[in-house]
């Protein structure tokens, strides 16, 4: 009887070892995250490059005064924007004057909720754009995450991105501090 139980225990131990070995093998076969894919950046060809808005929302008024400014367009209906919003919070906390965030949303409360969840609601440089009406009307941008690069208040380029450091590198160094955050 003892011999039988010993064999059973041995087999169970061996089975556990095999299971872990299989898990290890499966893990080794899972492809690594596609960093190149995440780092890619696309130009939004339909955006109104060269356009200068006739009206700036109060939260974005400072953008018009900067020689160079970056406005990130996020949306409460965009799942990858959630990751970006978490990264942006750190940047906003440092308070660069040439950075602002637009949160496009189907309803104001959803935009405010999105901002609150990701900790960007306490910043003055946040504009909750209901229906994305302003950013659509002014720049024909209705996709996100997007980065709008302004020079003296005029849209220079609009980029679609998936990784914040990648887009910061692409638009150039707005400030050394921002690069460090990224």
């Amino acid at each position: 009887m003892i011999l039988f139980l010993s064999v059973v225990v041995f087999l169970l131990a061996a089975a556990v070892v095999v299971v872990f070995a299989m898990l290890g093998e499966l893990a080794s076969r899972v492809p690594a995250p596609d960093d190149d894919g995440r780092r890619r950046i696309e130009s939004i060809d339909t955006a109104k490059a060269g356009h200068r808005p006739s009206y700036w929302p109060a939260a974005l008024a400072h953008v018009a005064d900067q020689e160079y400014a970056l406005v990130l367009v996020l949306s409460s209906t965009c799942s990858s924007c959630e990751t970006i919003a978490g990264q942006v919070r750190t940047m906003l906390d440092r308070g660069p004057a040439n950075l602002a965030v637009i949160v496009a949303c189907p309803a104001r409360e959803r935009g405010e909720h999105f901002a609150a969840v990701h900790g960007i609601d306490r910043h003055d440089a946040l504009f909750v754009d209901e229906d994305g009406a302003w950013v659509k009307r002014e720049f024909a941008v209705d996709t996100s995450p997007a980065a709008l690069l302004f020079r003296n208040g005029t849209l220079q380029s609009a980029l679609l991105f998936w990784d914040l450091p990648a887009v910061l590198n692409a638009v150039g160094s707005l400030s050394t501090a921002d690069q460090e955050v990224a």
Binding site: P31, D34, S76, T77, S79, P106, A107, T143
Partner: protein, 106 residues
Amino acid sequence: MKQTIMKMRTGRRKVLAGVGASGLAAAAAVFGSSTPAHAANWACCTLVFVPPNVSYSSCTAGPHYVWQCTFGTVGPVYRYNCCEKKNSSGTIIGSATKYTCISNCG
């Protein structure tokens, strides 16, 4: 002797009560701040109704909000239109998506 046993029992109960209270506090901290909105992800969209519960044409027929996102980094890449259907008072009453393959469509 009897007193010592009673003290040990009381002490054990206090420890267990402390563990229980700590667990409840931790659970409340993690799960207690539930969000008023219960949106969920569908491809690259974050929608109020998942899975989408109306057709795209129905969504865009009345008051609505449409936003685009891109789904996929390896293999086919899709451009999604995420649509939230609203009623006349602005409440979201339905969700829909439409997608087109824009790269590596094979």
